[in-house]
Amino acid sequence: MPGMGGSSDSGGSLVVQAFHHALVTQGALILVVVAILFVGWNHLRSLQYRRAVARGETYPPAEPARRQVPEAPARRLLRIAFGVLWIIDGLLQLQPGMPLGLPSAVLQPSAATSPTWVQHLVGSGADIWARHPATAAASVVWIQLGIGALLLLAPRGLASRGAGALSAGWGLVVWSIGGAFGGIFAPGLTVLFGAPGAVVFYVIAGILLAFPERIWTSPRTGRRITGGLGVFLLAMAVLQAWPGRGSWQGTIDGKPGPLASMVASMAEVPQPHPLSSLVASFGAFDQSHGWGVNLFVVVALATLGACFVVGGRWLRPALIVFAVLAIADWILIEDVGVWGGTATDLNSMLPLLLLAVAGYVATVRPGVVADEVADDTEGMAVVAAQPESIDVVANEPPANEPPANEPVANEPVTIEPDVPVPVAAASGVTPPTDRSWWERIDTSSAGRAVAAVGALAVLLIGVAPMAAAAVDRSADPAIAESSTGPPSVVSSPAPAFSLVDQAGHVVSLSSLQGQVVVLAFLDPVCTTDCPVIAQELRVADELLGPDAGDVRFVAIMASRLYNSREAMVAFDQQEGLDSLPNWSFLTGPVNQLAPVWKDYGMEVLTAPAGGMSLHSDTVFVIDAHGTLRRVLNADAGDGGHASQVSFAEILAQQVKQVLHP
């Protein structure tokens, strides 16, 4: 109702129901896929068993004399940790506030202070989400669970590197569209709040995992990670020290400074009381000691940055201090990141810390084999000739490092690519040439591959509906019904009217007989609902297609003051209605309008003190014989494009039902 505010409900029950329905449906589909994979795998094992028995062999075959070289510790850490983080993020997407709340509570605010091009980019993503909230929310759940599962279940080979690439790719999507690039183009950027965005660290981790596994055999990889972290911290120190950004002030003009106000707002989010008290206390401390807090932050960032860049013996103490400070920031400033109902991740400090730890581990305990060959040896065992791991002492690296493949003191000896041999040959049981392809599959390792394929299926089950939603320009009717309720089906004579249209012609209801009339009441100087309703009518007209020729869209003036023909013309131009051949906006003196308002149950009130005219947002559908058939609440909800299109979908459906009973 104009003048009465919207009725947007971020927890709109219909949309949440649709979200849950999508989750259940897609979850069932995933179960089916996993079951099929399991049955197939089990069937394969049965076939192999029968064939082995028929040949008089044992099954499973004797374990070949082989040694699978273990995954590099740092890579394993990154893979498992970020796999778990993606799963946590996926589970956070299950929150019921996500379908309707994410665009307005997360996407748009994240871009609000960014440049226009960022706002447009984020807006395009928010629009897709807003038009298909249930589908999009469920898709993101499965995509993130799928990536997490794939990272956890595919430790080696192409599948594992692919999981890293998928993690990086999806992370880029989330970082750019979901997080407005972590706010790097917006003012007030600070690492303390999470800049440059948690997901950018997921992207970095994903890229590292996507590289060939041999990069982990050299401590140079670890040094590059810790060195890059050092550069990042140094840059953040300079930014934090930059004057004029408010970083040095606990209060500005008597109000809390940027850090104190952010922390205070975090403390107000519903959460366990001890945590909110702790966060609020820190906010108060910063408000009174803003300069000192920032000095500490700048010094800490700069020192840690320098230590990470220099490396060597400074690395371990720097990592320990960084871990303490990162966890402190995560608790006291980022407030753990999961509260509020629309939190999407654990914020930046944990993934940043994980990268730092991985860099340290890669430096002091690199892997021992370049396992590139394994990528191309599905069903093959890898015979490794080297010890499983070699402990490395973290020393200052030489000024001119040799290439990665050259042995260096205190570094692992690089191993020549392992020679793949078929399992059977390795076990010395039977030559492989008389075996079918399916007999040569090592089902013990294939089990993990099957699980990875299952994880990939989970991911695809998320991606497919998201892709479909992106190209579907319609909107889910549940969005509008969440705020407007279902249309009312009625059957009574429509009250007559005779008024003047925007061209000065007299238009009466009887003159419109033979056409279905969609009737609304609009105020031409209304700033909120009426322009939205006008767009809903315009979109419904488009959705009607050829049927639009049998429909007349009519609005009756709903203002006691701005009821001139000029006002209607200005409104029509503003809303692009002046080019619609089946559009009429009708007005007249208040003494002619008032009986029409009354007959249709409309109350048009003039509010004081800068308030707009008050009237209800009802739309009527009148059939070709002048009988009232449908009454719809057109309250625009949040007024967004999604709710407009959603209502237009409902209206067009109802008009078609009246046209073709």
Binding site: V238, D253, A399, T527
Partner: protein, 403 residues
């Protein structure tokens, strides 16, 4: 580290810092009523003339644009009380500009907000008791004195659109029905000397009905005034020697004061935002007399400018044309006033909390302080060292009505 790696690290650090700081400085928002050049121009304003006064202020929840409502208050001659007179029938969230005429007629224009793209206007000849509605052919520019009314009821306005098109001046009769651009103004703007990219931002009518147009210029050049000469002729009419040359001064107010001898006042701020100066004209903008500059302390900003009234001293013909400048710094308020070109600025006692605008009365200065939906009038009497609380009005703010 190897030298090459060090160079890369330094380059990356420099790049990150430059990029981030650049982003920081390039995305600063502007407040309501901002201008394209210099610091933001406040929309809150007040004007007084011999038979009354009007003031426009923002009320409600100022942190929420949808619950910020601009209100118009009026005070009749002889009264000490301001009363609510906001025009009805349209939402005022975007802002409100009051154009006053020498005869005391008032036109109020509403800045578009939310999905509205054009400006409703309403004119009143009885100081807001009744309003006649109309529409502008576009969006009213967000600046005080973007709207003016002549003694015959002719209305001038500076309009633009929501996409930031170049503003233009339009004029209509008292019925607000048919708007036209003044003849020759477009060419005069294009030919304006020492004012590259001249944009009209203020309009005012002298007592004679002469239309004056305040200009802002780009490229660091000073603003100015164009004065209609009849037919299609316009001439530059800004005061000589106002502000420091080359400081890219910016008009804050250009408004009629409608006394017997002084009819137009121009208040400008230099481009650095460090000083405010006022000029008065008694002959429709042909000649001007400028007063001294009042400095704006670092960290303070102009919150409102009130023009008109007699109560801050001064002698002779210019006594009835005070200029009152309200400065703000967080919650602090400072009020400076000047009565005439030959006077000095006087500093009033610190303004009451929440003061949104101030204007001279017959005996001193009135400050309108707002808090949520409550407006409180504070009065300062010439020579006093304190503000005395006057009337209080509870405004029925329509919270939640605009989304």
């Amino acid at each position: 580290m190897a030298i090459g790696a060090t160079t890369v690290v330094v380059a990356v650090v420099v790049f990150i810092i430059v990029a981030l700081v650049g982003a920081d400085s390039g995305s600063t928002g502007t407040e309501a009523g901002s201008s394209s050049t210099g610091p933001a121009v406040p929309l809150a304003a007040a004007s007084a003339w011999p038979t009354g006064a009007v003031a426009t202020v923002a009320m409600g929840d100022l942190a929420d644009p949808a619950n910020t409502f601009w209100e118009l208050f009026v005070r009749t001659q002889g009264s000490t009380q301001w009363s609510l007179a906001t025009p009805l029938g349209t939402a005022s969230n975007g802002g409100l500009v009051a154009g006053v005429g020498p005869s005391g007629s008032v036109t109020a224009g509403v800045l578009p907000s939310a999905f509205l793209t054009f400006s409703p206007v309403a004119s009143s000849r009885d100081l807001g008791a009744t309003w006649a509605p109309g529409l502008l052919p576009g969006a009213l520019l967000s600046a005080p004195d973007a709207l003016a009314t002549s003694s015959t009821g002719t209305v001038a306005a500076v309009v633009t659109n929501k996409k930031g098109a170049a503003p233009k001046v339009v004029v209509a009769g008292p019925d607000l029905a048919s708007w036209n651009e003044p003849a020759g103004l477009h060419a005069a703007l294009a030919a304006a000397s020492n004012c590259s990219g001249a944009k009209p931002t203020r309009v005012s009518f002298a007592a004679s009905g002469t239309l004056l147009v305040g200009l802002e210029c780009s490229g660091g050049s000073d603003g100015g005034v164009l004065v209609a000469q009849g037919g299609t002729t316009w001439r530059r009419g800004e005061p000589q020697g106002i502000a420091a040359p080359g400081t890219n001064f910016q008009p804050l107010r250009l408004t009629t004061v409608a006394t017997a001898v002084v009819d137009v006042a121009l208040v400008v701020r230099n481009g650095l935002g460090t000083g405010v100066q006022a000029s008065w004209s008694s002959d429709g903008g042909s000649t001007w007399s400028s007063g001294p500059i009042v400095a704006i302390p670092t960290g303070w900003k102009v919150a409102s400018v009130g023009v008109g009234g007699t109560g801050v001293g001064g002698t002779g013909n210019v006594r009835a044309t005070a200029v009152v400048v309200l400065l703000s710094h967080g919650a602090q308020r400072r009020i400076n006033a000047i009565a005439a070109p030959t006077s000095s600025w006087i500093t009033l006692p610190p303004g009451p909390s929440g003061t949104a605008t101030a204007v001279a009365t017959d005996s001193g200065v009135d400050a309108l302080a707002v808090s949520g939906g409550r407006e409180t009038t504070w009065s300062w009497t010439s020579g006093s060292d304190r503000w005395m609380v006057g009337s209080t009005e509870r405004v029925p703010i329509q919270f939640g009505s605009s989304g």
